[in-house]
């Protein structure tokens, strides 16, 4: 029987000719990632594995991005633990404030993940790198410690859902709308323990940033990973960023999928996830009148340059509603500088937005944009659980950068296409 793309990558890294669904394998790792929340726990666990140093100082990445720049003394101690460990073990890929970006935008940008790689990260959104044809998945701190010590991790070979994409997305509709649409359709456990493999002629119409966004939120459907084929668009990105030669795996023609879902991209509408689950979706024409207090544009899901360009194109010449705040978080230093050089910051600041240094802060209710009781935010982030962005009685509406920008202007959840018509 044929294998899926994911199964082939797993088999190769386990030095096996083939694998089958449910098989337990021990696989070699190309990269092990941790951040300032998860790595301190892993660093405490690390000595227990009986190794004096990490398996490969070039294959561990430590990124203090969550509560940094340090939000309080405790957070500072956690970041310090990373800094000390990185120094003691001569970790090549440690990125302190100044070089730091949001990990899942930073690693591809630095060329640290490539096609065909097997990556684990102690952060659930590690699945982002599937956009580049890598198998990448989130794990906990103990797995991270074990990975740093041994260069290996065990996996149960997943079955897969195949998403057969056709057509292309309409103006103002992006990868975020596509993945919210999918999560709304299959639910927050719709792909539990499974791979989400995106295939079909529609893939070619998705930009690499759209693919990062889609793969990033595979975890919100419970998936182990999300993965795209390595086509010319992915190769162009890899050629620019990753010095290693891409290793391209393709799903076999007779690969078995538990489910095949056809999606015509031209039918996907701007989509919003209402509180308190990413699967609680409505299309923009069905949202009703939702007055908002805050807009967040950024994160590992939507803090890339094309996201900022999309938001700026909508905000240009308009003001943020007087009762609302709009916070912009470019995901990395490089994206920050690029946005500045393209004049996007002028547009944001003239509109009344605040532009921040890269951080995960507001996405998880850490710092830099916490919500008060009863407040509502439209956010381009990835989760809207109870209390996610602040007070337990606050609300988060997940949306694309275009919807978020339009909502900032209106002060209500708003359709960017309608806003355009009004102009």
């Amino acid at each position: 029987m044929g294998m899926t793309m994911t199964q082939k990558i797993l088999a190769h890294h386990a030095k096996l000719d083939s694998v089958r669904v449910g098989q337990l394998i021990m696989a070699d790792l190309d990269m092990v990632l941790g951040n300032d929340i998860t790595a301190p726990v892993a660093i405490n666990e690390f000595p227990k594995f009986g190794k004096k140093t990490v398996f490969d100082k070039d294959k561990v990445a430590l990124v203090p991005d969550h509560f940094s720049p340090n939000k309080d003394i405790k957070a500072a101690e956690q970041c310090k633990a990373l800094r000390t460990f990185a120094s003691e073990h001569s970790i090549t890929n440690y990125f302190d404030v100044g070089q730091m970006g949001i990990e899942h935008a930073l690693l591809p940008e630095k060329g640290l993940v490539g096609a065909g790689d097997l990556v684990i990260g102690a952060d659930s959104h590690t699945c982002t790198y599937g956009a580049l044809g890598a198998f990448s998945t989130g794990v906990g701190s103990t797995d991270m410690a074990c990975g740093m010590a041994s260069g290996q991790a065990w996996f149960k070979v997943p079955s897969a859902i195949r998403f057969n994409l056709t057509g292309s997305l309409n103006t103002h509709v992006s990868g975020k709308d596509l993945i919210l649409h999918i999560i709304g359709m299959i639910g927050v456990d719709g792909a539990l323990y499974q791979s989400m493999e995106f295939r079909g002629p529609g893939v070619a119409s998705l930009s690499i940033d759209d693919r990062f966004t889609v793969a990033n939120m595979a975890i919100e459907a419970g998936a182990k990973n999300g993965i795209f084929p390595v086509d010319d668009i992915a190769l162009a990105y890899l050629d620019e960023h990753c010095p290693r030669k891409p290793v391209i795996y393709e799903a076999d023609e007779d690969a078995e999928y538990e489910r095949v879902i056809d999606i015509d991209l031209s039918k996907v509408k701007s989509t919003v996830s209402f509180p308190h689950l990413p699967s609680n979706t409505r299309t923009i024409d069905e949202v009703g009148e939702i007055k908002i207090d805050q807009v967040v544009i950024g994160s590992c899901t939507n803090g890339r340059i094309s996201d900022l360009r999309e938001a700026a194109a909508i905000l240009k010449g308009h003001k943020v509603a007087p009762w609302a705040r709009c916070l912009i978080f470019p995901a990395t230093q490089k994206i920050w500088k690029q946005a500045m050089n393209e004049g996007l910051f002028d547009i944001f600041v003239d509109s009344g937005c605040a532009v921040s240094t890269p951080t995960c802060g507001p996405c998880l209710g850490g710092h830099m944009g916490i919500l008060a009781e009863g407040e509502r935010a439209v956010s381009t982030t990835n989760r809207n659980f109870v209390g996610r962005m602040g007070h337990v009685k606050s609300e988060v509406y997940l949306a694309s950068p275009a919807v978020a920008a339009a909502s900032a202007i209106k002060g209500y959840l708003a359709d960017p296409a309608k806003l355009q018509e009004e102009r």
Partner: protein
């Protein structure tokens, strides 16, 4: 290997943000984390939980973040076992890796309510609702997983295994 205690009962999609809100993740101290366990969906939990108690929930328990702080907070609060219809995959892995036993069992979830006293035998997979007298069969842990949980998690287990080899 056994667990026994009274039950806290929750529904579908109990996420890691309510198990341990991110605002408390500026520490990895187990006791501090446990003080805020389940706070955002059940403020009574931490006041009432006793050593050995059991959490029973419905679908997709532990969805969301990869934070190992979630099973750590649950284990440190005194909970001896979590039973659910299904678990989110990272939470599942993390729980076993830190030595918190968790079991998937649809029938047990149908037949257990809040406050029931439940016992679990991990070697046979039998879950007994002592309040109602009903028994449920879940998949027993293989012997290596029982050894891993008894050792206190993946790291001590690997070290013990290394010594034996």
């Amino acid at each position: 290997m056994q667990a026994r205690g009274s039950v806290f009962r929750y529904g579908d999609n109990v996420d890691t943000d309510v198990i341990i809100p991110a605002r408390y993740l500026n520490t990895s101290n187990h006791k501090e984390l446990a003080m805020h366990c389940m706070e955002d969906i059940d403020s009574e939990f931490i006041k009432q939980v006793k050593q050995g108690d059991i959490i029973v929930a419905d679908k997709n328990f532990g969805c969301g973040s990869s934070r190992e702080h979630a099973p750590i907070a649950i284990k440190e609060s005194g909970v001896s076992c979590v039973i659910a219809r299904t678990f989110a995959r990272i939470f599942y892995r993390n729980s076993l890796n830190i030595g918190l036993p968790i079991l998937e069992c649809e029938e047990a979830c149908d037949g257990i309510k809040a406050g029931d006293v439940v016992s679990v035998d991990f070697s046979t997979g039998i879950i007994t609702n002592e309040t109602s007298g009903k028994k449920f069969q879940s998949e027993p842990f293989p012997s290596f997983m029982q050894a891993l949980i008894q050792a206190g998690g993946l790291a001590p287990y690997m070290v013990e295994k290394g010594k034996q080899a």
